[in-house]
């Protein structure tokens, strides 16, 4: 049987772990608020740009953008948004599982896939799994900067423009509430066709200044960028929520473990006392 000193040491080490996990839980809880706030602040822009894009889709535009064009698919690109840090439960791995299964599904149809990764976790996962990684951004921090995503977006869009990829999927966690996050794999390109409004059935078109093509090209790029940025922000809110939950569970588990160990400690201590007593009594009887 273990001796008291060993058990005491174990209890002390679990207690210090518990302190760390409970501190991390509190940090995550305060960060949730911030990330959710950021999600809210970014919403008007994504709503407005969506509105503008749907207006354009509704107009009888002189120029149709390649992002709407459905072409024969040979290669698809998965844009995977993950967190930089771990300790957030199954958040990342659940997403990766879905990405892998979707990629296998496409593979069965003869479509190859490659990956553009955001976040350290995705980078290390796809390094170990092995996949064709075309672009990678990491260490965006708690306050992701839209500028940091431009390079990655450009790489992916250029590949699409050159015809090297025909479809793009955006994969990230969707924030349902603090308890629930949902991994999502959504088709980004080709963009789903907008439904035509009844009201705008009449033919009208914008005046474009300067050329329609340049303007729409820029606007579409901004639209895709804003979608990706939103996914990153949402994923970071998910990360904090999942982290809070994981750390809460860890703190509770540590508490249970400490209780069990304390029981064991008392048993060991009592056994030692009983043994000593019986030795003394045995000794006295012998005299």
């Amino acid at each position: 049987m273990a001796n008291t000193k060993e058990v005491r040491k174990q209890i002390a080490s679990i207690k210090s772990t518990q302190k760390i996990t409970s501190a991390m839980e509190m940090v995550a809880a305060s960060k949730i608020k911030k990330t959710q706030n950021e999600m809210q602040l970014g919403r008007p822009y994504s709503e407005k740009i969506k509105e503008v894009i749907s207006h354009i889709a509704n107009s009888s535009s002189e120029y149709s953008h390649p992002f709407y064009e459905h072409r024969e698919t040979k290669r698809a690109c998965f844009l995977v948004v993950s967190s930089d840090k771990g300790l957030c439960g199954g958040l990342n791995i659940n997403l990766f599982k879905q990405v892998i299964s979707k990629s296998a599904e496409l593979n069965a149809q003869g479509i190859e896939s490659n990956f553009a990764l955001i976040g350290l976790k995705a980078a290390s996962f796809f390094k170990s799994v092995g996949g064709d990684v075309v672009a990678n951004v990491q260490k965006l921090g708690d306050k992701p900067d839209p500028d940091a995503l431009i390079g990655l977006t450009k790489t992916v869009l250029d590949l699409h423009r050159n015809g090297e990829i025909d479809q793009v999927y955006l994969c990230g966690n969707g924030f349902v509430n603090t308890m629930t996050q949902e991994p999502k794999v959504e088709q980004l390109i080709p963009l789903p066709a907008e439904e035509k409004d009844e009201l705008t059935a009449t033919h009208w078109d914008y005046i474009y200044e300067p050329e329609a093509q340049d303007l729409l090209e820029g606007l579409m790029t901004r639209y895709i960028e804003s979608l990706i940025y939103h996914a990153v922000i949402e994923n970071s809110a998910c990360e904090q929520a999942a982290k809070m939950l994981a750390m809460k569970n860890a703190t509770e588990n540590a508490g249970d473990l400490i209780k069990e160990l304390e029981l064991l400690y008392n048993n060991v201590r009592q056994a030692a006392i009983t043994q000593e007593l019986s030795e003394i009594v045995g000794g006295a009887a012998a005299v």
Binding site: H55, P146, W204, I207, P210, L215
Partner: protein
């Protein structure tokens, strides 16, 4: 008086949403004035001030590059960065202009040069906005 619905949004927040009787902005091909009932127009937004008039009331905002969408009853500014002109600091703006000029002089590569030029244009537009605002007061 008829009004037009104005919304100015940047990627990180909503700057302004409300009605206006007349809106002035800098498009990529020059200054434009937007009155209610404007024909649908889609254009680039150059860094510069955006003025929203509502009757006698006038508000000024600073927008960096982006897009303007105009419909007869609404106008939307999609700015990469926008801020209320009142909150802008002239010293800050001049400092960033100096930095941009310095960057342009010791240009190392083509990429840095274009970046510096964009920075300079933005800083100049910022200063213009502040000065315009001062004149109005």
């Amino acid at each position: 008086m008829s009004t037009i619905k104005v919304s100015i949004v940047s990627s990180s927040e909503e700057i302004y949403s409300g009605e206006g009787t007349m809106v002035f902005a800098t498009g990529s091909l020059g200054e434009i004035g937007i009155a209610p009932g404007h024909t649908p127009l889609l254009t680039g937004l150059a860094p510069g001030p955006v003025r929203v008039q509502n009757g006698d009331d006038e508000k000024t905002f600073f927008c960096s590059g982006g897009f303007i969408e105009i419909q007869p009853d609404l106008v939307t500014f999609l700015s990469d960065r926008a801020e209320r002109a009142e909150s802008m600091d002239e010293a800050e703006a001049i400092k960033s202009q100096e930095l941009a000029e310095k960057n342009m002089q010791d240009k190392e590569s083509e990429l840095d040069y274009t970046k510096a030029a964009a920075q300079l244009a933005e800083a100049a537009a910022r200063i213009k906005t502040i000065q315009k605002l001062r004149k109005n007061k």
